[in-house]
Symmetry: C2
Amino acid sequence: MHSYEIIRAAMLGKIADQIWTPADTLPHELDLAREFDVSRGTIRRAMADLVQMGLIERRRKSGTRVVARKQHSSTLIIPVVRKEIIAKGGQYGYKLLKCETGPEIVDMTGYFADAPLMRIGCLHLSDGRPYQLEDRLINLDAVPAALQTDFAAISPNEWLVERVPYSSVRTVLRAQPADREHADILKIAENAPLFIIERQTRLDSTPVTFVKMSHPAAGFAIVTDTGDG
Amino acid sequence: MHSYEIIRAAMLGKIADQIWTPADTLPHELDLAREFDVSRGTIRRAMADLVQMGLIERRRKSGTRVVARKQHSSTLIIPVVRKEIIAKGGQYGYKLLKCETGPEIVDMTGYFADAPLMRIGCLHLSDGRPYQLEDRLINLDAVPAALQTDFAAISPNEWLVERVPYSSVRTVLRAQPADREHADILKIAENAPLFIIERQTRLDSTPVTFVKMSHPAAGFAIVTDTGDG
DNA sequence: AAGTGGTCTAGACCACCGC
DNA sequence: CGGTGGTCTAGACCACTTG
């Protein structure tokens, strides 16, 4: 057990027991260093973890405080579609619908500024039945290798996740009735509910890809487990 | 711009340009310190950020590598309904529909074993229009104070989140067509899509509460973000 | 203006783990 | 065993933010 872990645990205890509350200001780094008989750096190491857990907030001059919680948080994990289907016991199938590149591609999101784009539409199948429709834009400046890739052989979902690094993700989850086109492709009734996952991926402020996954809602759910909120 | 940020950006560039790939081992800390003419601590500071972003993995003896990913992950944050509505610029309204306790309450989830339960149904409104239907079970063993609380005055959602500690959360997200009852209460068409959020909360293995939030899908979305996905 | 957290250094020593 | 990343120190200086 390292000292920063011992100190972090001690601080966690004080927060859990409400000895330190959002109303208080915590002792300064140097006071804590004296109290625990370690250097200031070790105190900072322990506090950095608490900041990352979202338990405390620190500001110059005004000091360190416990954060008042006011929401639930948990970790959403979205696997590669192929693995999701296999994990459910299905036989995975894949079909490329279209793959275009050039200036005529419309960036309906405004997310990519004027970067050159590739647009790919494809369908993931489980046991031969349509499972999920993927509609994707790729920034060719960020991922030029996409031009040399045969997306009839591998889905852009899988290719990108495993190959292209990213540092931040924004996911939007919503539901809407299927329009005629989606209903036809997914072989469901018009106006049947679709579960939609949109995801924007960046690598340090450069947009990499935007994808809209459309999923028949029947029998589909996303499960997330405990974060630290 | 601090030096660790400059170094982090330089490393990010090498990862983005695939100069460093999952196949390679990165240079050692001391080599990088010489290369960038900083101390080893500063190199470590920059790399710590990349580790936290999930871009690199480090191991003693074997060194540092770029991560090959297998899934997307992000943090799902679900705020208190009242604050969510206010944040969207709506006027919050609340109506208690029913609040029952006693042995006749059915635990349709099997989640609570034989604990004494309270069941609460209530409606959250935005600008006077139904926004979200809440159907909740509370474990009275875990939260006896619920019996002394007037849920006509405060929603169980808000009361619980701010007052009752919890250690783990499981959330299920799905969509389904509205049945007659939901359609009536939420004033939408039958079979219109509903976005449903179910959440189970535990405190150290004791189930605390189960809630099912039903939401008209039109105009509703959940957004999640991450810096570590 | 002053007090707080933030960055950076130079170096010592530790401990995991692959060869 | 030896090489790598991990911890810790003591101190200097920086820079944000609030009273």
